[in-house]
């Protein structure tokens, strides 16, 4: 187990300059034609926040006891969900996006993932900071330690999204149909997981589903930690976190073992 992780660490260390260059190329290159440039990184989340404030003004349905104003609750929840989903989305496209480059330039496949993770963290941190300001406006108060622990609590979610993404990235090269289904399934998953409603529905099939859905615990834990400074179902969260680490390790091996084998079939 340690061999794969150590080799990955060595490759990332050796190619750290390439990771940085790819991140720069991704962020700067993407906005270079635009007059507003990197300003979009701030404007886009502002638009999302404005939409939620407007929705709040229009009045929304109260979905049950959420502890705080519903728009604030949804804003934070969708932001945490977005953290997971966006990690899945970008990593699941890594070989179809960058496959041609990697078969022409011989560098380790881990570097491509590193680029995606760093860009994702940068893209997430700006809206998160804005969301926290909005939550303060909505009257939510945070403990300093829950603000500090919150990013750490997201790590299993990041590894889980990355793990699923790595498997789908490999499959996307050779099994397009299966991946289209998985992509659609991930969208449905958001409505099944307690993202836009409180995790208190414990009856019926949805309750049973969420009992075994690690995302339900991972998302609720981070959300409750931030808004109530509370540890939601800590034991379940730690089991899920352990599962995510193991899942990440296995999927990393899958990705490293099979990426070459699938890319040679298309390039």
């Amino acid at each position: 187990m340690l061999r794969t992780l150590r080799q990955t660490a060595i490759n990332l260390q050796r190619y750290r300059y390439l990771s940085w260059q790819l991140v720069r190329s991704n962020l700067v290159g993407g906005y270079k034609k635009s007059f507003i440039g990197l300003g979009w990184m701030l404007i886009l989340p502002l638009i999302t926040v404005a939409t939620w404030i407007l929705l709040n003004g229009a009045g929304v349905v109260e979905p049950g006891e959420t502890g705080i104003a519903y728009p604030a609750y949804v804003l934070l929840s969708t932001s945490i969900w977005g953290f997971f989903m966006e990690m899945y989305r970008t990593s699941s496209q890594v070989l179809t996006d960058r496959g041609r480059v990697v078969v022409m330039n011989s560098f380790p496949y881990e570097v491509l993932l590193m680029e995606k993770v760093i860009v994702h963290l940068i893209n997430f941190s700006i809206p998160l900071a804005l969301n926290i300001i909005v939550l303060l406006i909505f009257g939510v108060r945070f403990h300093w330690w829950s603000l500090l622990l919150f990013p750490v609590s997201l790590l299993p979610l990041l590894l889980f999204g990355l793990g699923i993404g790595m498997v789908v990235a490999v499959m996307r090269v050779i099994a397009v149909d299966i991946c289209t289904l998985i992509d659609e399934g991930m969208k449905v998953l958001m409505f099944l997981t307690p993202v836009v409603y409180a995790p208190k529905i414990d009856q019926g099939w949805l309750g049973i589903f969420n009992q075994y859905n690690p995302l339900a615990y991972l998302i609720s834990f981070s959300r409750e930690l931030l808004i109530n400074s509370d540890f939601y179902k800590t034991t379940a969260y730690f089991w899920c976190a352990l599962f995510c680490f193991l899942f990440f390790y296995l999927t990393l091996r899958f990705y490293l073992n099979f990426s070459k084998r699938v890319l040679e079939r298309v390039y």
Partner: protein
Amino acid sequence: MADQANTLLSVDRLSKKFCKDLKRSMLYGMVDIGKDMLGIKSDPTHLRQGEFWALDEVSFDLYEGQILSVIGTNGSGKTTLMRVISDIFPKDKGQIHPFNIERVTPIFALHSGINPMLNGHENIQLKGAMLGMTKEELARKKNFIAEFSELGSFLNSPSAPTPPA
């Protein structure tokens, strides 16, 4: 296999197969992954329906200070040979023995990886890093690369006018 002291690379009966039919190739890809995950050994040395040898028992030795040209028609496997040697593609049969080589750097498809929105200097950093160069190595060589490119002040402009790979 060569045993001369100044041998850099020895390639021995190297073979690589591909599949002509795209859908069948995708199917073989799924089957191979499935078998591998179940621990079932698949035999890469025989051809399945639709497959052909892109490289068929290629052998050569490359010595220090030697320039070896591989000449062939389009589709004869020159790029595939380079990709297998530099471990971009896994081999199906044969052996590759590198001697005292730190890394094999394949230089083909020069535009690959270049971001047309970045300027020449930025792309030198990007492409250099892709070829395995470190920040320090690039800092040492950047003036030489800029001079070698003969692009002068155009290096400050986006690389977009050059055709993408």
